[in-house]
Amino acid sequence: MGLFSTFIAKIKGENSFAPADWKELESELLASDIGPTLTRQLLETARKVKSENAQEALIETLTAHLCTKSRLPLINSEGTTVIMIVGVNGTGKTTSVAKLAAHIKKSGSSVIVAAGDTFRAAAVEQLQTWGKRIDVEVISGKANGDPASVAFDGVKKAKQEATDYLVIDTAGRLHNKSDLMHELEKVKRVVEKVSPVSEVLLTIDATTGQNGMAQAKIFSSAVNVTGIILTKLDGSARGGIALAIESELHIPIKWIGTGEKEGDFAPFDSEAYILGLIA
């Protein structure tokens, strides 16, 4: 990479740029998946600033698109904090559930997880293997059973045992399948009969393109997403779609996943992310 810094250097040094340079900058911005609309806005900014602080100006513009909501985890001060993990197939929900549980455990709180993905073959076993690895109890039901009932069992148990946290895994679903989205709404409704759901986290795969926006919109309207877990940031993708989501839907990115191990998980750092986008 480093293309972006080349530009900054160019912008600093000259007063006019060849059209080819702009094309290259456009291509670089588009390549980060922030989308054509944001790219256009950024190019306009870039065209205006031709001074020494060009880099800061661009970073500032990008930062201005970040969501202003708090990125701190939401907790339930009166009992078990219930967290639901939702998302499209293959975005890394189960892995994120395990990593989040490990993170909570490490911080000294008690946690159990509910294996609500009863649909995908061996998803429950995948979570159980994780449970053993990170030493966290996994509540599970029958394969192809009702996910809402597993979640219900989980939340009842967590309440009985006064566990600090309950993390609920759900089956991956494409956001345009309305029946599956209704199923998700039901899971949340059923859980809320026992205890409020403090946080609904949507996993977004960093390699996802502009479709991520549709995912965030529809999941949000179904189960009121309170934050995003940006997964697979360790690849070559820069996850620019998350910025577009923050900018348009005001859903904060709260966590990032950067690998397959339990420790490859961290709170979102907006500064590092912005720098990564334009690296």
Partner: protein, 475 residues
Amino acid sequence: MFDTLTSRLSATFSSLRTRGKISKGDIESTCAEIRQALLESDVALEVVESFIDQISVKATAALETIQSGTSQANAVFEIVNASLIEILGGQTRRVRFSKNPPTVIMLAGLQGAGKTTLAGKLAKFYSDQGNTPLLVASDLQRPNAVTQLQVVGESIGIPVFAPEPGNGVGDPVKVALAGVAFAKAKLYNMVIVDTAGRLGVDADLMKQASDIRDAIKPDEILFVVDAMIGQDAVRTSQAFLNGVGFDGVVLTKLDGDARGGAALSIASLTERPIMFASTGEKLTDFDIFYPERMASRILGMGDVATLAESAKKAFDSQTSAKLEAKFESGEDFTLEDFLEQLSAMSKMGSISKLMGMLPGSGALKKQIDGFDEGEISRTTAIVQSMTPKERREPKILNGSRRARIALGAGRKVSDVNNLVDRFSAAQKMMKQLRNGAVPAGMSGMGLPPVKAPVKASKKKSKSGNPAKRALEESQ
């Protein structure tokens, strides 16, 4: 809402068609709109640019030779269509079977692309055609990927070779090699090797994949990629091409609403054909990828060919021959025929999926996505509550008959009225169709909010002929 490529392009072309005469400026603005639409659909910038250049040159050249406005617009549309097909890989390519069985197929791709599910779908697809595939569990990385493949294999009755438990235990190269040897010894004619998901930038895992490749020398390496992937498709596919190499691409999750973008980039940048597409959660939701059909879908022309094929699968030849004879002889289409169609349609799969294949469905996207699949069974219940005579002659349905039917079907009388009204409208349209008139556009479909019966009978009028056509062509 997020605009799909299809609806953006349909809008662009319909505005082009309203022009009296198309100027060079119109071409330019059309190209600019296509460019924006493609970028919003995640097509890589360099692919977009070369695509636009190509269209602009060809379209400008075409303008000079064609005079009238509408045919100019059609010429531009044809140029875009042809370029799309070309960029999608042109011809459909099938798996090359090895002269010395087993034919070895290796799957590679990013985590979460859907390799394991796809391995099952591929095995089912080929076993349905009389092959004897063996699944080999070489993804020893992801927790319980081996178990997942075993469960998938069991559900479709395909044996799974899984000597290692996975979860980080075992050597995937050895497993792959042993799997191929096992298949050879037991005379399986096909081996499908599932491998661990890996990132393009992970040198160790890429090395592992190329080690598997060198050990088993697959006949086909398929790169499995999520249709929702963004601009990273460029880097990732390049990394896989250089790291492991691949002969064809499989697109997964094509049933989402992100059709097109990644497909265009990958096929064009790697010059490898897209061979299969996976379109749903069931293990049968899988098919060969046809570039022409995809192009038609992207351009909002629908995919009548696939629709006709699924219709052919669902309607037994006797029923469709009977219906066709009826249609041609000018006899009225009755509620009895309708009932037969309803049951055949439920065999064809979800209505929203079928509707999505119809021309102009881009404009109806929202209604299609929100389509209540239960409507079919409710409609069936109403028709089943009628006497045979009533089904043949809906005219005799007076108030008390309607009340009885509503009671029998557990619906309201207004539902029965609705069905009968829409049925007679459909009947009328069938008559028009038979007399050679084009029905008043598919736009009529947009009228009532829920309109299963009209849709259904129209489907007959749509699918009947192409099915026949497809049949004739295939012979």
